[in-house]
């Protein structure tokens, strides 16, 4: 028997200027409670200045089994990196 509240994923911005980062999950009856629980669970030592909570079921994740199909095509496009281009030593600021 499972009476768990809904699962939420928690993201925290450690300091202004930084992006929100995933820190874990928790259960809550609604989004507002998820925020309150996130504060108590993940920021007891000033670990953050901002919290996002997202219903876990709302997240669409890529399938690790399809990682090759998704990311492989970028592998042979080395011309996307600056080191691909040979520039003479004496040319500066480039």
């Amino acid at each position: 028997m499972n009476e768990d509240w809904m699962l939420y994923e928690v993201f925290i911005r450690a300091r202004s200027g930084l992006e929100h980062k995933h820190v874990g999950s928790l259960h809550a009856a609604d989004a507002r409670m998820a925020l309150e629980h996130a504060r108590d669970t993940y920021t007891r030592r000033q670990e953050g200045v901002s919290i996002w909570v997202v219903r876990s079921s709302e997240i669409l994740a890529s399938d690790p089994a399809e990682a090759d199909a998704l990311f492989e095509p970028a592998r042979d496009k080395v011309y996307r990196h600056p080191t691909f281009y040979a520039i003479p030593e004496e040319v500066k600021n480039l």
């Binding site: 768990d4 874990g24 999950s25 409670m33 007891r44 030592r45 089994a65």
Partner: protein, 331 residues
């Protein structure tokens, strides 16, 4: 950490199509890659982790009880604030760990239910009573100290969510150990009665703390597989030895006697040698016959039942809010 009773299922003898996946999986582990929730993993790896993480989570939650009952009796406001913060941390540790277990496809409610019906294990250490204030000092010093010894290698565990939870927990544990040792320092520097209280607590908690590392390597069947999977990095006896080597000088500094007449420093190995551990006590406590097993479970069940109306009210309120939001949209 607190998973001394782990009985890991053996990996099934795999048919040939599975064997290749198993080999690829092991190769990833050998290359120190982390395994993440949606990655393919052997069922035995998943089950071992669920059991270990759940036992660990239960230990954090049950571990709140022996200390929680001293909050109202802490000797000063400072000690009380510290103890509340520590107990709250342990609750947080339980939450991080249930959250990590859930990434393996098990519901938290299921794990909690197993604990409440007495089918789940948790660390034997929390089935001992906290008789005096010195016990609170000793728990922080020894029990959290042993937990730290166990948990630091788990920060490098092969399963990503567990490793990340352990990093978070380890950051918080150090304060637990230090506040405990500070209590012991105060008692050891106090009256004869306070020193006796400190010694008595050490006498009662020393051996149960050593047992926290689990059975001796010769009796621990599952260590090898867990080490191959990099769930475990050191054997029970290795970690126990480290703990003893670190702790004995701390006891000496307090002027307290470690209750082991056979304890001696071995010059050649550079380690302490300790006397035999009474494993029959360990197994009895684990089986449910420790001094406080029944009391701990009864307290957990009572708390769970007492919170039921809150959970139901919150769910009903959330449902009502969602319904009126739907109505507003439709209207």
């Amino acid at each position: 950490m607190y998973t001394q009773a782990l009985d890991a299922p053996q990996p099934p003898s795999a048919p040939t199509d599975e064997r290749e996946r198993l080999e690829r999986f092991q190769a990833r582990i050998d290359a120190d890659e982390k395994i993440e929730p949606k990655d393919w993993m052997p069922e035995a790896y998943r089950q071992t982790l669920i059991r270990q993480i759940a036992q660990h989570a239960h230990s954090e939650i049950v571990g709140m009880l022996p200390e929680g009952n001293w909050i109202t009796r802490a000797p000063s406001l400072r000690r009380k604030s510290v103890l509340i913060a520590k107990v709250q941390d342990e609750g947080g540790h339980g939450m991080y760990l249930y959250s990590a277990a859930e990434t393996l496809g098990v519901a938290r409610g299921e794990l909690v239910a197993q604990l409440l019906i007495g089918r789940a294990k948790y660390s034997s250490i929390f089935n001992y009573p906290t008789l005096t204030w010195a016990d609170i000092g000793t728990i922080g010093w020894l029990v959290d100290g042993a937990a730290i010894m166990n948990q630091i290698p788990l920060c490098r565990c092969s399963y990503g969510p567990y490793a990340r939870a352990m990093v978070r927990i380890c950051k918080e544990e150090s304060f637990h150990q230090r506040q405990g040792y500070e209590i012991m320092l105060t008692l050891a520097g106090g009256s004869a009665e306070q020193r006796a209280m400190a010694q008595d607590a050490l006498n009662r908690w020393w051996w149960p703390s050593l047992m926290m590392f689990g059975p001796s390597d010769t009796d621990s069947k599952h260590t090898a597989q867990s080490m191959r999977w990099k769930i475990k990095r050191f054997t029970n006896d290795e970690l126990r030895q480290r703990f003893i080597d670190a702790t004995v000088p701390q006891a000496e500094y307090l002027g307290l006697m470690v209750p082991d007449p056979e304890l001696r420093w071995d010059e050649t190995t550079g380690h302490y040698v300790h006397g035999p551990i009474d494993w029959s006590e360990f197994h009895a406590v684990l089986k449910g016959d420790g001094p406080c097993n029944r009391e701990r479970l009864a307290a957990r069940r009572a708390a769970h039942e007492a919170g039921r109306w809150v959970r139901e009210a919150a769910a009903a309120y959330a449902e009502k809010q969602a319904a009126s939001a739907r109505d507003a949209q439709a209207g």
